[in-house]
Symmetry: C2
């Protein structure tokens, strides 16, 4: 079996750490592993498959001899360093938003559009967390009955912002429970025991960048610009795990029974839907779960052909680190 030299850029961040542990869990065939970060985190020692690795500062030369570079260090770092990695012969799988809407760059969820991987010219983009779990659940429905329009509202965890935001939720929650003031630093308003209808920056038409990612990335991944999408993205006071309330207008009717069967037969998706047993997807379930959980599957009686779904996934894993590594796996599997 062929082995590859792999670099992880942003190895000490919330997603980077998941990447390193997923490389181990899935026994990714790496020959050498290089863990990279900024100066602040250089020197950190991390372990993978029983070996210790010292985190190094990322420079263009860090990518010499690297075959696959997994980036999760923000758009700025990707824009600056991904071309350097490509120049040195690496294929970059990038978890930032820097290249997602670039026509030259495939945007991939391996269960949905694996074929796009091979169209790359050096960089493959990993979609936004909330898009990944949604399209994974939608694909079997799209293939069976077509999708006209989606109305989505999200319930997103603070881990999507990073480790600092998780600390802020913890600190603010303790403060509020002690009757003290919460001091917002990472978020513009109190997040403890509160919901913020605001993720990423605002555009002039009132939508946030997070909401528009769900519109544009969905059309690109599904390779169908006729799918109409409108989204409202909200941050809830939860450490990890994103939930989405998805309303789907389909071209043809699909019953609840048919939808359940379609979803149950989809790799990477698990149906959690048994109201009699009070079973539905929960965000506190997904700490150790890679699958996208789908439940609350209901026919929408307000239109001729429609469904409502509740979709939950671990945003650090399937929403980020896992999907990135699955892209790399698919790429080398077909080589």
């Amino acid at each position: 079996m062929e082995k590859y030299n792999v670099a992880v850029v942003g190895a000490t961040g919330a997603v980077g750490r998941e990447m390193v542990s997923i490389l181990e869990e899935r026994d990714f065939p790496f020959a050498n592993l290089r863990l990279l970060a900024t100066e602040r985190s250089a020197g950190t020692v991390m372990t993978c498959k029983g070996e210790e690795y010292v985190v190094e500062v990322t420079t263009p030369d860090s990518f010499e001899d690297i075959d696959i570079a997994l980036f999760s260090a923000g758009s700025g770092a990707s824009k600056k360093l991904a071309p350097e990695a490509v120049k040195r012969g690496a294929v970059v799988v990038d978890n930032s938003s820097a290249y997602r809407m670039d026509d030259e760059v495939p945007l991939v969820v391996p269960e949905v559009n694996p074929e796009d991987i091979f169209e790359h010219t050096g960089i493959i983009a990993n979609p936004n967390c909330s898009t990944i779990q949604m399209v994974a659940a939608l694909k079997p429905i799209y293939d069976q009955v077509g999708i006209k329009r989606l109305v989505i509202s999200t319930y997103q965890a603070v881990s999507g912002t990073g480790k600092d935001a998780m600390d802020e939720l913890e600190q603010q929650s303790k403060a509020v429970l002690n009757g003290e003031e919460a001091n917002p630093e990472i978020y513009p308003h109190q997040i403890a025991f509160n919901v913020l209808p605001h993720i990423d920056i605002f555009f002039d038409d009132g939508y946030t960048k997070e909401e528009m990612k769900m519109v544009n990335e969905t059309q690109k991944i599904m390779n169908d610009n006729n799918i109409k999408v409108t989204a409202t993205a909200a941050r809830v006071p939860i450490f990890n795990g994103h939930a989405e309330s998805i309303n789907i207008e389909t071209n043809d009717r699909v019953t609840v029974k048919e939808a359940k069967e379609l979803l149950a037969n989809t790799p990477g998706v698990r149906v959690e839907d048994d109201p009699d047993k009070l079973k539905y997807p929960l965000q506190n379930q997904v700490t150790e779960i890679d699958d996208v959980l789908v439940g609350r599957i209901r026919e929408d009686h307000s239109i001729d052909n429609g469904l409502n779904l509740w979709v939950v996934a671990n945003n650090l894993r399937k929403g980020a680190a896992l999907n990135t590594i699955q892209i790399a796996e698919k790429m080398i599997e077909e080589k």
Copy 2:
């Protein structure tokens, strides 16, 4: 000015306590006030307008000489005792779901359908919390451009379940922050740092009773069975204040500017919408606020005529106690 003998049934509950304080705040013209509850709470001393009141056990005879009986003691108590109050000449304003869909019983939000109050035959019903704040925000839009269809996802606080649920959220949050197990008692699953896509009981088609309340009550209050509604109701780990992500398909186009003006001129509604200043409705804002807050007003680009809104209100006040008392005020004002 005429004065009325008023009874509050369920006076010691989360909503009942708000009722008593709102009677004082709004200087409701009562001659006598009788505070009623179950045996468990009888003897509790409560204060209103500087007077002390001892809570009594509710019996049919409690309603002798009562003009207005405000009920918030659950459906069972309303079914048993509201007819006894009516028999003794009282008008009942009932906050439970017992009579809401009864053809003889008006279901009223005073800003939306005040005229229905006078159709009562002894009982007037107060709508469900999540419906009240939604129709209050929708009415000016409905009047201007008509409404075809609504897709709603809710973010509801635990205070809607009652005081015990607020205690459970507090205890579980402390436990989780201490690295201990959360022990669900009121809710079937952990509510701390989790979202439950489940409010009230499940029906056979997979919808919850809470979701169907939003469908049926909206049509009744708006007096328009052609409004199509589909809803997903979720409980978020917040003490008080409900939020709703509302997608509206209108008959005619309404711009963001027009929608803001319509809403800004609606009594009981306050527009909180200035993304540049990171201003949007927040649940932790509404502790002392009676208005329904509306923000994140956006045109829905996925259909010809549509809007997205984020609507927040204090579910114990406008969603329950305040609306009940506003119904009583409107009723006596027009006498």
